[in-house]
Structures are given as structure tokens and as C-alpha cells.
């Protein structure tokens, strides 16, 4: 519960007794000067009012359906709906009012403090010198009212308890708070222009994901239940029946047409999602930190201290790779895997973008991590993707051999099927499956071996692996906090081993897979001078294991 640097305590009665004094403050949502305690933005009431309308719509639909079943007159139904609407809105407003009235925050020279809680009073405070991130997030309704939600984090753990959330503040106050907490002068902001900015042509990479093929089917499935629930069951089942009849009658036209519709809906969805997540994307290098702004409807502003950066990762999922695109992610300490209700993971630095741009951005971000501009040569290794050293042929042999049992298994299954299946067409065609598996397996094995690689730059250890998602990670050599070297029985026979650099950032460990024994050990020994050296033996004498 108690994270370092964070005090958390339940408030006792005397403090709660203080509060009525605040309530009489004529300034409303503005600054309450008494001891510096401030309120959240009072306009939040409008926002919660507007959001409660969604609840009202759902409730009204349900109520109407229920009352229609009870043979009510139209007037009665309207009255009931209106009553329910008033009740819901009033309840939401009352709750939000109580929340706003009981929440206070203040910024002292040392700490940021927040008092909150309707039933359980809480007092949380964050030392200002530990503040590492100030993130702003505003959904469309908040934006209409000029408000934004502020999250202040220490960046030590991804957990909830190291974050203070001010929900919501007026946008101008939020920006001021951000700048004050991060010790930033307005003029010094973004001196060199952005590191990257959105180009709408990148949207062509958006549909290059598995979701494009599956999303519309998933959405249909998810919609089916709610549509039934609000009384459209007869409609949905009739549509489904007609559709099925059509497919059965004319499979040769229906199936390709449906697949095409599925694909285009998926692609459209992916493009819309891309636009929402990455519209107005802008990555800036401010002194000591990176600032990422994105979002067309819901705007987000994320700050990442360069001190927390331990490297960059270029991730190329198969489809995106075939399309010539790549993604750039950070390897940083204290980032959660995925923030709740976010479609992008917290480490993402850029939307899918052309490969050469991705390499350039990665190199720039990697060099931003250094205190000295002399760090740039290290990024040259990242920039020249071809400079990676491939791994021995034994690595490929290992993968090919590993792919064979799967093929044998599938072939055996196909044999059984062809022998026992009652339909003749199954018997004729089933042999295609093992052939496809064999080809795919061999391709995967060769591609996987081809993707293996490593390099040692002035500042980074670069390693690459993966078939389905090819990941190239440049890990800051200073960020390596140990080595784990593994050698399985089969690796030992082929003279290979896997060198894993452990680190406090990102996934926690990054591997150089199936590298030649000597190359791997020398690589580890040179990457962090002096750490592995005392444990190595060199020379022709074969050490007894």
C-alpha cells in the first residue's frame, strides 16, 4: 500500500470539521487562498450532467420496453422516462457535487497534496522533487468545457498508489501546474521543434494489423446481445436467418463478398481508431524530458523524464513489416504495460510509421537519453539497421529442426483423417494441411534465424529477434543491471547460448538469442566493462565445467 515517498492517511474528525469554512467561500471553483487549498473545477458538474445523459438514454430504452410490455399508454411511458431521467441526473449531480466539495488540493513549496473522499477521508501527498510525470487527459465532453484531468506520478511504480489524480482542472490551471511541477519555463519549451509530428499518410499503416480481419466479426458478436436486450431480437434473428439462407444458396458470391465487407469495415475501423489515438500527434524533446501529445477527440499529453529512459525498441509485427512500417516504443522504468481504457500501450512513442523514419526517430530518442551529445555515435548503430551482426548457422538449423516435429504431428493427424474421414473430399484435400504447415514452419524457421542479430554501439547494446513480431531493442549499456546466461542441452551441442541483459526498465530482461558461445560472452563482457570479465576464462585450456 504505502509506496515510497507517498504519505497516505485517513483524516480524523477535526480536519473534516474544517471543511464547512471552505464551502462558504464565494469564489466557487476558483482559488481558495486559505492555507492554499484549492478546489477542483466547478464546471465539472456540467460534464457529469452531460455524461449522465448516456445513462438516461440506456435507462429510458429499457424502461420503455418494459412498460410497453405492461400495456402502458404513451403519455405514461413518457412521464415515467422523464421521472427516471430527472432522478438519474439529480443523483449523478449530487454525487459529483459532494465529490467536488470534499476534494481539495494544494501545492506547497515541498509537496503536492490532495484531500478527498466522501465517506473515508484521505490525505495523500507527493514530494515535489519526486514528481516524474504530469499527464493530462481530456475526453471530448471535458474539452467542450475547457477542462482536463491531471495525473501526477512519481514514476517509480506503475501501481495506482503513486499517482495523484486531479479530476478535473481548468485547462489553463492544468498547464500551469504541469509546468510548475516539472520546473519549466515557457520560453524554453520545445526549442528545436518536434522530434516527430503526425503525417496523415501514415494512416495507411493503420489497417496492417490482425484486428482488421477480426474486428468487425467481434463487434457484431458484441452487439448481438445488447440488441436482443433492448427488444430487437426478432429483427436480429431474422437478419441472421436471411444471411445464412443467402450464404447457403450462393456460397461463391456470398462468401467473398462477406469477407470483403468484413475487411473493409475492419480497415475503416482501424483507420478511425488511428485517427482518434494519433490525430494531432506530436513528440517534443523538452529539456530533460520527452513530451508526447496525441488524440483527436480525447487529447492526451504524456511526459517522460529522459532519466527514466533506458533505451528504445522498434517493433515490427508481421503485417506491418510486410507493409514497410514499424513502431517505436520506449524502454523506460516505471511504465505500466497498458493504462486502463487506453488503446495504446504506455510505452508507445509513435504511431506506425515508415521504417526509415522509425529508425531515425529511435536513434534520436536514444541519443536524447544521454547527458552528453557525444552519445550520438551510439545511435548510429541503431540508425544503420544493417550493421547488426547475424547469428551462426547453427541457430537456423536449431529452428528448422524444431519446426519438424510439428509438421510430423500434423502429417500424422492428416493421415488418420484421410483414413477415417467419411467424406471423400476431406480425404482428397487433407494432405494440403501438412504441406502448408511444413512450408509455413520452414519459412518461420528461416525468417526467425534471419531476424536474429546483435550489435554493440558506443552507448547501446542492440539485439533483434522474432518472427511474428520482430523486435529490435537498443538497451542503454548503463541501464544493464546484470546478466543471465543460459545454455540448454541442445544449445550446448551446437555451441550456442542465450545472453539476457537484465534491467529495471521495460520488460525487465532483453535477450540476445542463440548467439555463438564466444561471441555472446565477449559481447556481454564488452557491453558492461568489468562485470563479466572476472568470471571468464580464455585460452586453449578447456575449463572443466
Amino acid at each position: 500500500m504505502n509506496a515510497p515517498g507517498l504519505r497516505r492517511q485517513d483524516m480524523s474528525a477535526p480536519d473534516a470539521g474544517n471543511l464547512p469554512g471552505h464551502h462558504r467561500d464565494p469564489q466557487g471553483s476558483a482559488v481558495n487562498t486559505q492555507a492554499g487549498w484549492r478546489r477542483l473545477a466547478g464546471r465539472s458538474l456540467w460534464v457529469s450532467g452531460a455524461k449522465s445523459l448516456a445513462l438516461v438514454a440506456g435507462a429510458a430504452a429499457g424502461l420503455t420496453r418494459f412498460l410497453l410490455g405492461q400495456d402502458w399508454q404513451a403519455g405514461g411511458i413518457v412521464a415515467a422516462c422523464a421521472g427516471a431521467a430527472v432522478l438519474i441526473v439529480a443523483a449523478v449531480l449530487a454525487y459529483d457535487l459532494a465529490r467536488l466539495r470534499t476534494t481539495r488540493w494544494r501545492l506547497t513549496p515541498e509537496r503536492l497534496e490532495l484531500r478527498s473522499g466522501l465517506t473515508t477521508r484521505q490525505h495523500r501527498s507527493l514530494p515535489r522533487d519526486r514528481v516524474r510525470s504530469v499527464d493530462l487527459r481530456a475526453d471530448p465532453i471535458l474539452r467542450i468545457f475547457g477542462l482536463t484531468v491531471v495525473k501526477v506520478g512519481t514514476g517509480e511504480h506503475a501501481g495506482d498508489h503513486t499517482e495523484l489524480k486531479l479530476d478535473p482542472l481548468v485547462r489553463k490551471d492544468a498547464e500551469t501546474l504541469r509546468r510548475t511541477l516539472l520546473h519549466q519555463d515557457e520560453e524554453r519549451e520545445a526549442r528545436d521543434g518536434p522530434l516527430a509530428e503526425l503525417r496523415w499518410s501514415w494512416i495507411r499503416y493503420a489497417p496492417l494489423s490482425v484486428w482488421t480481419f477480426t474486428a468487425s466479426a467481434l463487434v457484431l458478436g458484441a452487439l448481438y446481445k445488447p440488441l436482443n436486450a433492448i427488444g430487437l431480437k426478432s429483427v436480429t434473428s431474422r437478419v441472421a436467418n436471411d444471411l445464412w439462407g443467402w450464404i447457403a444458396a450462393q456460397p461463391l458470391t456470398a462468401v467473398p463478398l462477406l469477407l470483403a465487407v468484413n475487411l473493409s469495415v475492419g480497415a475503416l475501423g482501424a483507420a478511425l481508431l488511428f485517427a482518434e489515438s494519433w490525430g494531432r500527434y506530436r513528440l517534443e524533446h523538452e529539456p530533460g524530458r520527452l513530451r508526447l501529445r496525441r488524440g483527436l477527440l480525447t487529447t492526451r499529453s504524456l511526459t517522460l523524464e529522459v532519466r527514466r529512459l533506458r533505451g528504445v525498441e522498434i517493433s515490427e509485427p508481421l503485417l506491418l513489416r510486410l507493409g514497410g512500417g514499424a513502431r517505436v516504443k520506449t524502454v523506460a522504468t516505471g511504465l505500466g504495460e497498458k493504462a486502463r481504457n487506453e488503446t495504446e500501450d504506455a510505452a508507445a512513442l509513435a504511431p506506425p510509421l515508415p521504417r526509415d523514419l522509425a529508425w531515425r526517430l529511435a536513434a534520436e530518442v536514444a541519443s536524447a537519453g544521454g547527458a552528453h551529445p557525444a552519445g550520438v555515435p551510439g545511435s548510429r548503430v541503431i540508425a544503420g539497421g544493417t550493421a547488426l551482426i547475424p547469428h551462426p548457422r547453427a541457430a537456423r538449423r536449431r529452428r528448422v529442426v524444431r519446426a519438424l516435429p510439428a509438421t510430423a504431428l500434423v502429417a500424422a493427424a492428416a493421415g488418420v483423417a484421410s483414413w477415417s474421414a467419411p467424406w471423400p473430399w476431406v480425404r482428397a484435400w487433407v494432405w494440403l494441411i501438412p504441406v502448408v504447415v511444413l512450408v509455413a514452419g520452414m519459412w518461420g524457421a528461416v525468417e526467425s534465424a534471419r531476424n536474429l542479430g546483435h550489435a554493440l554501439g558506443a552507448r547501446h547494446l542492440v539485439s533483434r529477434r522474432g518472427v511474428v513480431v520482430r523486435q529490435t531493442v537498443a538497451l542503454d549499456r548503463k541501464g544493464i543491471s546484470g546478466w543471465t546466461i543460459t545454455e540448454s542441452y541442445f544449445q550446448r551441442r551446437s555451441g550456442l547460448l542465450t545472453v539476457s541483459a537484465t534491467t529495471s526498465a521495460g520488460r525487465g530482461h532483453y535477450e540476445v538469442v542463440d548467439v555463438g558461445r564466444e561471441t555472446g560472452l565477449e559481447l556481454a563482457s564488452r557491453a558492461v566493462p568489468g562485470l563479466l570479465e572476472p568470471f571468464l576464462v580464455r585460452g586453449t585450456t578447456v575449463a572443466k565445467q
Binding site: 543471465t484 540448454s488 525487465g508 576464462v537 580464455r538 575449463a543
Partner: protein, 163 residues
């Protein structure tokens, strides 16, 4: 041709780990063997070939429980220098771990109930990485305590925030 290899760490676990691990393995394996024999006795018609197979399985379980600890004892080694903690373990898959003193965040000693009977303790060295814990198993209790103290002292003397 020159070769580069990792040399084995200098120290072995306390010899008492062999009986301790044997007890652990037996606690795991004996019920399996007994269950197999019981299942044969209760649920089958006692065919001879199945009886032989079950007997071989039960004996193999017990033999494994007796042999495996000795094998592991031979391969598990550890070493602590002024700069790093270095361990090796694994029989089929060898695993070497190195953690520098400057990155060590926490040093723990742990003694399980059975372990206590043998006067043994484990020392776990945790770094900031989620994957970086290095465990030295089966040390003499006094050696473990002394090692933990030494590691803590070195770690505190090393500057840096260990991330």
C-alpha cells in the same frame, strides 16, 4: 583456436543440502509412487505387465528423488566478489547469473521449516529488474547470515540509486 568460457563459481552449497533436497524430492515423489501403486491395486484387475510397469515407475520415482539432489549439488555453485554476485545452476540447461553490487536493492535470507532442521538458509539478492533476482540456495545458516551482512554493507557503500 582460443576459447572463451565462463568459469564455474568458486563455492558449492553446504553438503547438508543433499539430505534436505532428498527429503523435498521424496515428499514430492513418494506420494506419486504410492498413488500409482494404489491405483494399480484398487482400480485394475492386476495384469502382470501393468504391475511391472507400475513397479518400474515407482522405483524410478524413488531413484530420481535419491539421485537428482546429488546431481544438482554438483552443478549448483556460487561466488561473491567485491563487485558482483555470480551463480550457476541447472543440469540440462545451465544458467549463469551475474548481478553487480551497484545494482543490488535488497538482500534477503529465508529459512523454510524443513530447511531449519538441517541448519540451512537461502540468500536472495534482488536487483531493480523484475527478472534479476539471484538466489543462492542451501548455505549454512551462519554462512548465510554473514554473507547477507557483507552484501548489505557493500551495497550500502556503493553509490547510485541501483536502477
Amino acid at each position: 583456436m582460443s576459447t572463451t568460457m565462463l568459469r564455474p563459481p568458486r563455492n558449492q552449497a553446504d553438503p547438508r543440502v543433499i539430505p534436505w533436497w532428498t527429503v523435498q524430492w521424496l515428499l514430492l515423489m513418494a506420494p506419486i509412487a504410492v498413488a500409482a501403486v494404489a491405483a494399480y491395486w484398487i482400480f485394475t484387475e492386476h495384469p502382470l505387465w501393468l504391475g511391472a510397469a507400475v513397479a518400474v515407475f515407482a522405483v524410478a520415482c524413488v531413484v530420481l528423488a535419491l539421485v537428482a539432489p546429488r546431481a544438482y549439488y554438483r552443478v549448483e555453485r556460487w561466488e561473491v566478489t567485491g563487485e558482483a554476485v555470480y551463480t550457476r545452476k541447472g543440469w540440462l540447461t545451465h544458467t549463469w547469473r551475474v548481478a553487480p553490487m551497484s545494482r543490488i536493492q535488497r538482500v534477503d535470507t529465508a529459512r523454510g521449516p524443513v530447511q531449519r532442521l538441517f541448519g540451512l538458509a537461502d540468500v536472495t539478492v534482488t536487483t531493480a529488474s523484475s527478472a534479476g533476482a539471484v538466489k543462492i540456495e542451501g548455505l549454512d545458516r551462519a554462512v548465510a547470515a554473514e554473507l547477507a551482512e557483507r552484501l548489505t554493507a557493500i551495497t550500502q557503500a556503493t553509490p547510485g540509486d541501483a536502477t
